[in-house]
Symmetry: C2
Subunit: 438 residues, 2 copies
């Protein structure tokens, strides 16, 4: 394999790939967009590198609309616990010792896992996000990054969170990487005061940023919101001015039908995170049929690796389709082609990106899947196999914004990232055990 294919963006020919039951060529221009697609389309174009697509299924690159990427470092650290002790005894004590370098390596590991499993971009909420930005920049993915804004009603803390949010927006502006943008990240209505929510809405308006928020994940959240404010969570977000076409609200398990309609009216996106919701036993599945009936946009997310425990959107597509069928007692709910849209076109649109669909002029965010493997044999329907039979391990090639990030399952620098993440994770546990931060 030629390895200079990874070095920089160049024009590409994907020759004889299988796309929507046909065999086509796809040409990527050196500006990173799709220049042509169709049978024999390669004959009319020049290109720097040719990629053999025979025996490969072509799909749009997937996008993950809710995660905490650096939490890969906590993968498998604590499972099978009740939510409160899990957070209070295991997750928060470790997070209290997090440093910028941990977030860098955790995000590098997350990017590596996403590239390997066909995800080209993600919507991230965490801390030390300048380090996350560096990791994404180096990995070559797209990301919308936000600082998790939590004031717990404390004015001094709120001030700190506002400054941190501004600093990240300024930092990402200066990076001037067109693949990386920032969003405002009010954590949730139960962790951010009304003043905090209002500041976030105003800042998003002023800087023209998206919003990334947790919403109606647990029944407790909804019940507490009603008892303390007299309102359900969606009303609080709407009154604060946080619901718009660039809002991504994660989970939405306990949305009622009025809330589904209001989210649809505002053009907001609900990010469905079925594996996390099931693992943490949120008690109800996100009401996809009601959101669909209301015309709301739904996209897919994995949540962080502490509650999933991977970032494989192929697996998440299957779990989403299974959960929706099971929860609403309807085997026709969320069919394969719809769940693929949740992970591709809906997800890209939610994050303000032009990808997630394969057409001339769109960014070349593309993945190839191996056909000569059990999960794609036989190949009656490529979308069914992608959703129900394959995991992200069927992906052989991942292209983001016209740049090849993985080819024939090879990712330059993979070993260094695995080693860096292992070291960071060990050091974090050691610091937390010793109660030091040297």
């Amino acid at each position: 394999m030629e390895t200079d294919i990874f070095e920089k963006r160049a024009s590409l020919l994907l020759r004889d790939v299988r796309y929507r039951e046909r065999t086509v060529d796809l040409v990527v221009a050196d500006d990173g967009t799709i220049a042509a697609i169709g049978p024999g389309a390669g004959h009319d174009h020049e290109y720097d590198h040719a990629i053999e697509g025979k025996g490969r299924v072509l799909l749009p690159g997937l996008a993950n609309t809710h995660t905490h990427a650096a939490m890969t470092l906590l993968r498998g650290y604590a499972d099978d616990m009740l939510l409160q002790p899990w957070l209070a005894e295991r997750i928060w004590p470790l997070e209290a010792h997090l440093q910028a370098d941990d977030v860098y390596w955790g995000t590098r590991l997350a990017c590596l896992e996403m590239v390997r499993t066909g995800t080209v971009g993600f919507n991230d909420m965490y801390f030390f996000m300048e380090s996350a930005a560096r990791a994404v920049d180096e990995a070559g993915l797209r990301a919308v990054l936000c600082y998790g804004f939590i004031d717990l009603g404390d004015a001094e803390k709120r001030e700190h969170e506002c400054r941190a949010t501004e600093a990240l927006a300024d930092h990402v502006s200066r990076l001037a990487n067109p693949r990386i943008t920032t969003a405002v990240g009010p954590h949730a209505v139960y962790t951010v005061s009304a003043d905090g929510l209002a500041w976030c809405a105003e800042f998003a308006r002023e800087r023209q940023l998206g919003v990334h928020v947790h919403l109606a994940e647990t029944r407790t959240e909804v019940d507490d919101a009603i008892s303390t404010t007299g309102k359900r969570s969606v009303s609080s977000l709407d009154e604060a001015g946080l619901l718009g076409s660039r809002t991504v609200a994660a989970h939405g398990c306990w949305l009622d039908e009025d809330e589904c309609r209001l989210l649809a009216a505002r053009g907001a996106t609900v990010s469905h995170n079925p594996a996390s919701n099931m693992k943490l036993a949120t008690g109800r599945a996100m009401p996809y049929p009601a959101l669909r009936a209301a015309g709301a946009r739904v996209a897919l997310g994995t949540d962080g690796c502490a509650s999933n425990n991977n970032l494989d959107l192929f697996e998440e597509m299957k779990i989403a389709a299974l959960l929706q069928k099971f929860a609403w007692n309807d085997p026709t709910a969320l069919p394969a082609h719809e769940v693929l849209a949740l992970a591709t076109e809906n997800a890209h649109a939610a994050l303000g990106w032009a990808g997630g669909r394969i057409e001339v002029g769109a960014p070349a965010d593309l993945v190839l899947l191996e056909i000569a493997t059990p999960c794609n044999t036989p190949l009656h329907h490529a979308v069914s196999n992608a959703v129900y039979a394959c995991s992200g391990n069927a992906v052989t090639t991942t292209i983001c914004d016209g740049r090849v990030l993985m080819h024939e399952r090879f990712i330059p620098g993979e070993d260094e990232v695995l080693e860096g993440a292992r070291t960071a994770s060990r050091s974090l546990i050691d610091r937390a055990s010793a109660g030091t931060d040297s």
Copy 2:
């Protein structure tokens, strides 16, 4: 890599594998059993082949307690439909054209997929089972094979099913392959008459065979059983004499607590098939907490590829743990170490095998998982990563009964199996479309 490692059973050293948070050697004797395990255990033994286990996690080989292996040929053929039209319009018309050769290739493909994803044996119910036996024999796996006995209350059909069941038992006896046994396969209480059930019980007793049956999969089954016989499904099986320690009952979604207790008292195993149950929207999860409280043995199964759509027990372990937590609103339900037992020791015991655990004298049914990959990075807890983060694609080496079936992800003859299965699947569809069986 030396390829003669695949040729025949020989003594093996697995050097420096990670097992239960330690680094150990494991020695396999040339009779296919585990001869030694422990740090440095390799120093005291001779061996024909050494396998480098550094950077690998060792687990028992998994066993699949309910599938219809040859249905791999129908993978992705029809999804997202209501049960009755799915069966009547899509699955049965295709199955009506099935021939012995299709079952051979479908089972070869299933075995390939299982070897690739760390499964060393399975419990199979289908037709043309002599062809399935040939496929299993060649693939080197273990299997308990049964003919799906369906008489629909018709005496003539019953006679045919009895003869088919006898013929398979005789055929498998003559094969004299210690890895392959047969069971009696009364399909379900709603497809087999009381006389048919009684014959099955008597035949199983006479030949000392196990029983493989579908049980309480849908509410309709239970409601219909009560309205036609006045009894729930478990009572019918028990009165027919079909419940014993060698009975594997698949699904069990609608079992009530009395039924859980009776199954436990009889020593029967319930095979949990969460992906299939969710995809077909059975309406209720198998009541694992009640079965566990009753002391019943539960094991894991994938069901056939028409309703899953793969045979990856690693994925199934995760879905089982997620579904049980979600269904019973308890994040502590079915923790990682228990779900691993469902796929290993419980499954092997259910099928009458001595494997599924790693100890001296047990059959060497073993898998190695790659550590230097995102799903095993970091490696806080190997069992958590195996269940929640990895799919079967993390498996690098699969050993069944001391014989190496896959090593460093290489399986001899894989391409021929994929091509044979593709051809068989195409031919089946063509025959069904044309309405011919040439």
